[in-house]
């Protein structure tokens, strides 16, 4: 898949940062508002897919290596399970929300429950959201990238 016209390239370049910010916002506020790791990750990945479509898979493959994406994906999964295992180590139950009610990160004990504007009110949940987000971004983008690249290599099938 080669790139599209200049108009498409410019517009998608302009839109790209906004899509990224929006997706990251959805991930970061996953415990406060609807959304979370998967939804935000899907938004970020679709933003990246937009770049992929407008600039073509060969160009994108030159910029982003599939191997690095798989490392990112592994990291996301490791952080997720690692947080769950830390719950086992610190609080004695797998998946325990051991950061909840503690002043470990921001040095203040937050109010219980979901409160507008207080990001650290959910303990380990934001960490897990970010881990899932990382995994989803890397995974979805790797899928789209590899498939787009594979179809260019195929050249419409051998005859």
């Amino acid at each position: 898949m080669s790139g599209m016209s200049k108009i498409v390239k410019t517009i998608s370049s302009i839109a790209f940062p906004f899509v990224m910010i929006y997706g990251l916002y959805i991930i970061a506020h996953g415990h406060l508002t609807p959304g979370g790791g998967f939804q935000g990750g899907a938004i970020v990945a679709s933003g990246a897919a937009m770049i992929l479509v407008s600039y073509g898979s060969v160009w994108t493959m030159g910029k982003v290596k599939e191997k690095k994406l798989s490392i990112l994906e592994s990291t996301g999964a490791i952080v997720f399970i690692g947080t769950a295992i830390l719950g086992l180590l610190f609080a004695g139950v797998f998946f325990n929300n051991f950061l909840f009610d503690s002043n470990l990160i921001f040095n203040i004990v937050p109010v219980k429950g979901s409160t507008v504007g207080i990001l650290n009110s959910a303990g380990t949940l934001p960490i897990m959201n970010f881990a899932v987000g990382l995994k989803v971004v890397a995974g979805l983008f790797a899928i789209v990238l590899v498939m787009a690249y594979a179809t260019t290599k195929m050249g419409g099938g051998k005859k």
């Binding site: 798989s70 490392i71 592994s74 999964a77 399970i81 086992l88 004695g92 139950v93 797998f94 998946f95």
Partner: protein, 537 residues
């Protein structure tokens, strides 16, 4: 020291699933250092999982059902909404099967997959599959079961297509994922029905509240059909020879575990979830009462006979080594459900209409069926490893192009003979004891069943004698002239399975009393499973 051990035992249900998952995602990172370190790491992870499984199984067999609640310090508050792992005898038994196979497969892969590209992903998927199977058998939550089922199907389908340059593998993988995803979606449909009916996803809670109304019947039908399809019961078995023959051999060994885990799902649904409604009289003709247990039992027995016959007949005609073992695996699954089906239809009968001896025969059939599950995993696993060794040495699975291998591959031939004896139920291998129990108990239910089972077992022997003759015996032919014995790691893996087969065959009583009996009792006493969560409701 004892403290640490008791903490580990307490947390082993979570760790059994967490360790392979963690290892799976760490594998690509470790793989960037060095292939050898990565292989050692993967073997270490499977062995660690095995260690946790063994201490958990020991705990369950001595102290009864163990429950583990995720993410809550105080699970006794409102247990209905929490996510539980619940391990009774049957789960523990299945966990043993599910953990032996990956250990063997990983050791075997060291030699087998040495030349392949993308080994890190291969090991990642094997570990993911292990985590999925173990999750399936340990979980006490219907939705969790669905999730682990999907994890298992996705990773195993990806592994079936590991040799993407072979068209046989890719088409088999596509068929497998279509079948798996439809099966899993149907399971999800049934889970949704349960959730709508009983507002719960926990198996124990559902089992406690289960009725036998219209929606329950739909859920039962959908669950049985979907899970028996995943367990490859005829006539829904056709994906199995495809997938088993398309996958690399060590992968096939682990996929045997997924098939058995789906069979475990059938048992869990039928025995535990619907256990309370087994004796509801749907309709009675004079003295003869039709109960759900009778319907399910007879249905399963009919399918079982079909499975055995089709599996054996197709295996006899097949000329591809792996495909043939695939059909033999279908027949072996038939033996298990033949025993279990006759157990359901004879043991669960309204009081007064049954004789005590009949119930005893039903119990015995169940023992045989469950014992045969672990035997099947070992036999079929060993045979697939032998087929993989033959493929590794000759790059050929078609039996027409093989011959005279025993001259070059002495150890592999011995392992094949052990597998042959085991799968056709000859003493002193493990298949003998379980098949003897199955013949004897099904004879009491209906002599025709036992006759079919024995005849098909003889044919199974004939099937593998054909393999032995055409691949291992005979003169040294030109295509197998430069064959060498396979690497040590593959021999070690085959040796582990062969040793287990001989041990199980020589000392069946020891195995039955220590491993099989608890599993059987767990299936028969669904009330214990329920009260472990709900506290004696």
């Amino acid at each position: 020291m004892n403290d640490i051990l008791s903490i580990l035992i307490n947390h082993s249900p979570a760790l059994i699933v967490a360790v392979p998952l963690f290892g799976a995602f760490l594998t690509p990172l470790v793989g960037m250092i060095n292939d050898k370190i990565r292989n050692i790491f993967v073997i270490f992870i499977t062995l660690l999982t095995g260690f946790f499984t063994v201490i958990l199984v020991n705990e369950v067999f001595t102290n009864g059902i163990k429950t583990y609640c995720f993410g809550a310090e105080n699970p006794s508050v409102n247990p209905v909404v929490r996510i539980f792992f619940e391990i009774d005898g049957m789960s523990a038994f299945m966990a043993l099967i599910a953990v032996i196979l990956p250990i063997v497969a990983v050791i075997y892969s060291w030699g087998f997959a040495k030349e392949e590209t993308g080994q890190s992903k291969y090991y990642t998927l094997i570990l993911l599959m292990t985590a999925g199977i173990l999750g399936m058998v340990l979980t006490g939550d219907m939705f969790n079961f669905f999730v682990f089922l999907e994890i298992t199907s996705i990773s195993s389908a990806a592994l079936v297509a590991f040799w993407t340059n072979k068209k046989n593998s890719v088409q088999a993988a596509f068929k497998y994922i279509v079948i798996s995803s439809i099966g899993a979606l149907m399971v999800l449909f049934a889970v949704a029905i349960f959730y709508g009916q009983y507002n719960a996803l926990n198996m124990a809670v559902i089992a406690n509240n289960i009725g036998f109304g219209f929606l329950d019947k739909i859920a039962l039908v959908v669950l049985i059909a979907a899970l028996t399809m995943k367990a490859a019961i005829a006539p829904m078995h056709m994906w199995l020879p495809d997938a088993y023959s398309g996958a690399p051999s060590p992968v096939t060994v682990v996929i045997v575990g997924t098939t058995l885990a789906s069979l475990y799902g059938v048992f869990r649904v039928v025995f535990t979830i619907y256990g309370k409604q087994f004796l509801t009289i749907l309709r009675s003709f004079g003295d003869f009462a039709v109960t759900p247990s009778l319907l399910i039992g007879v249905f399963i027995v009919v399918l079982a006979v079909l499975t055995i016959v089709i599996g054996v007949f197709m295996a006899l005609k097949s000329n591809d080594f792996k495909r043939m073992i695939g059909y033999a695996a279908v027949a072996e699954i038939g033996y298990m459900i033949l025993a279990v089906g006759s157990a359901i239809s004879t043991y669960f009968i309204p009081t007064g209409t049954t004789t005590v001896t009949m119930a005893e025969h039903g119990k015995m059939a169940l023992t045989g069926g469950i014992f045969h599950m672990i035997n099947d995993a070992l036999d079929i696993g060993l045979l697939f490893l032998v087929a993989g060794a033959v493929y590794y040495a000759t790059k050929e699975t078609s039996l027409n192009k093989l011959g005279g291998l025993s001259r070059k591959m002495k150890y592999t031939t011995v392992f094949f003979l052990i597998g042959l004896f085991a799968v056709s139920g000859l003493p002193p291998m493990n298949g003998f004891a379980s098949k003897l129990i199955i013949y004897q108990s099904t004879y009491q239910v209906n002599p025709i069943l036992a006759i079919v089972a024995i005849l098909c077992s003889i044919m199974l022997l004939a099937v593998f004698v054909k393999v032995f003759h055409s691949a291992f015996l005979g003169p040294e032919i030109s295509s197998t002239k430069n064959v060498k014995e396979v690497p040590k790691s593959m021999l070690i893996a085959m040796g582990i399975l062969a040793a287990l087969i001989i041990f199980f065959g020589l000392f069946p009583e020891f195995v039955i009393t220590n491993i099989v009996e608890p599993a059987k009792n767990a299936l028969l006493n669904s009330s214990e499973y329920i009260s472990a969560i709900l506290g004696g409701v």
